[in-house]
Amino acid sequence: MARSADQSFVIRVTLAERANAHFIEMNRLSIIGLVIVVIFVMVAIFAPWIAHYDVGTTNLAMRYMPPTAAHWFGTDSTGRDIFSRVVFGARISLEVGVIVVLVSAFVGTFIGAIAGFYSGWVDSLLSGYIFNVFLAFPGLLLAIALVAFLGAGLNKLIFALCIIGWVGYARLIRAQVLKVREYDFVQAARALGAGDFRILFVHILPNAIQPLIVQASLGMAGAVLAEASLSFLGLGVPPPAPSWGVMIEEARDLSTLQAAPHALIFPGLAIALTVLAFNFIGDGLREYLDPRQRRR
């Protein structure tokens, strides 16, 4: 029986290898998500070449213009071009999303790995107390509270989102490490005389990190959403910056709604599509990694 050869081999089959083998089978929605994300990233990077108006220039004579050839998404209550603002808004969302996910994933992985690997009192302190305290707070409330006291601003917003973001990764990696450290190859590495550090970061983590991709993808969705939410509340990027949340806040008073519903619809669509795309990817990957959830 060739298949029962080496158990550790099975563990080492990476996501990429599996994805290659079944790429066609992969959830169609995650591919749609991937396409949207690529467009979103491109738009964010090439924003100055795509947008043809300045995001801050107001022109009261041109306010509430419906979508036309000159203004694809129309203009808002102060005559600014909505298309250009949505395009530049992608930059803010992407920046916040990428930084928050990278920092939280890094910090979370490190702390989670330590908690899972050492167990004992280290784990009791970290997962028994610190994780629980962070999870006992609604994340958005903690972010709101932090920014309310620190003051609004992009950096403070990113800081607040990292503070609430890392726990999810830490919990996930802890559970993974707890599982992987029982495998034979870890024993083998120890028998060969590898130290704790080497075992944890060279042998265990690479085999434990797979579900992190799902979490990171969902984390991007969460960070984009949280940035828009806080900016909507006036706690994120201050106006006149073209954050999607700020644009929605400016478009939702009754007179603007009456005269220019498109000022609300386009940034709303931008947020929804971006978040949806990352959710599609995260969901597809999760189904992929957890066959019980698979549809076929």
């Binding site: 629980n132 707070f137 409330l141 939410s229 939702r252 009754l254 929804a272 978040v275």
Partner: protein
């Protein structure tokens, strides 16, 4: 029995620790304000006497913690022990007396302000849950029963769209359609019974999407159980099998999600209340607290919302254990 008691003590201990941390965090928050809170509240043009009077009135002239490292005349920092006369201690003593301090702006007791607004928020959260459950159970059952079919895929996509659409996008769009265009409902406020419809739908939309997915996977899992085959074999209609047997067991994890989602609901209520001018805790926090830099109100609201969340989580956990004896045994 011994282990049960130990588990209970452990849980209560953790609960106490969590509450202690939350209260400490809330008291420390005010130290994060850049510069001087008194200047932030009174403005740059306030005289030194006014500032000093303000600090004395709200206890801001006292040291923040039991000890500190104040700078001496040469700018050197030294350890100094302040003893019990500090703000952290003050806040705890006050909280245990049911006192959350007075508003920096209006001098009204924060505890009373919160009590006034609390019912509106709870009302909104319950209405949103009802909306979510009403939508989610039939849709989730439909998707789970027809696993892998077009219906299932369509419903799953719909649910993901629901999760991805934030309240501050859905809310104003609902206002546009139902208040501005159709004129059926009021755009904001809490005067008529019908005023709760738009905020509840806005807040419940995302939750209904999450619950739909939950009910779906629960139904799928339960349908493969032996008792389902028995029920079918004894000739029950498919409807009876699903609604009388499967759903009863399948709703257990859903209850947990519902409880855990209360926190997200409470946080989401902050945004929903702002959109619809719904006079709950969220509006108090955003408009009177953050908007007017009334830090005492912010502290009080954060404390009230997080303790509600912690209480809801604990109750959910207890309910979950009671509903599913398998968890109790393990």
């Amino acid at each position: 029995m011994k282990y049960k008691l130990f588990g209970l003590i452990r849980r209560i201990g953790l609960l106490v620790l969590v509450v202690w941390t939350v209260v400490s965090l809330v008291t420390i928050l005010i130290e994060l304000v850049p510069g001087d809170p008194a200047v932030a509240v009174l403005g740059e043009q306030a005289t030194p006497e006014q500032l000093a009077q303000f600090r004395a009135k709200h206890g801001l002239d006292r040291p923040p913690f039991f000890f500190g490292f104040p700078a001496d005349t040469n700018g050197q920092r030294h350890f100094k022990w302040y003893g019990l006369s500090n703000r952290y201690d003050d806040y705890w003593v006050a909280i245990l007396h049911g006192d959350l301090g007075k508003s920096f702006r209006t001098d009204q007791p924060v505890f009373r302000l919160i009590l006034e607004r609390y019912p509106a928020t709870i009302e909104l959260a319950i209405a949103a849950m009802l909306v979510a459950v009403t939508i989610a159970i039939p849709l989730g059952v439909m998707a789970g029963k027809n696993r892998g079919t077009l219906t299932d895929n369509l419903l799953s996509v719909l649910a993901l769209i629901g999760i991805s659409l934030p309240g501050f996008v859905i809310g104003p769009m609902l206002v546009y359609v139902f208040a501005v265009k159709l004129g059926w409902l009021a755009p904001s406020g809490r005067f008529e019974w019908s005023d709760i419809i738009l905020p509840a739908v806005t807040l419940g939309a995302a939750l209904s999407a999450i619950l739909t997915r939950m009910v779906r996977s629960s139904v799928i899992e339960e349908l493969s159980e032996g008792y389902v085959r028995t029920a079918r074999a004894k000739g029950l209609s498919e409807r009876a099998v699903v609604y009388k047997h499967v759903l009863k067991n399948g709703l257990i994890p859903v209850v947990t999600v519902l409880g855990l989602q209360l926190g997200i609901l409470l946080a989401g209520a902050i945004i929903t209340e702002k959109i619809f001018g719904w006079p709950g805790l969220g509006l108090l926090l955003v408009e009177d607290g953050i908007g007017k830099r009334d830090y005492r109100i912010v502290q009080g609201c954060v404390l009230a919302i997080s303790t509600t969340y912690i209480a809801a989580n604990t109750l959910t956990d207890m309910l979950y254990r009671w509903l599913d004896p398998r968890i109790r045994a393990s």
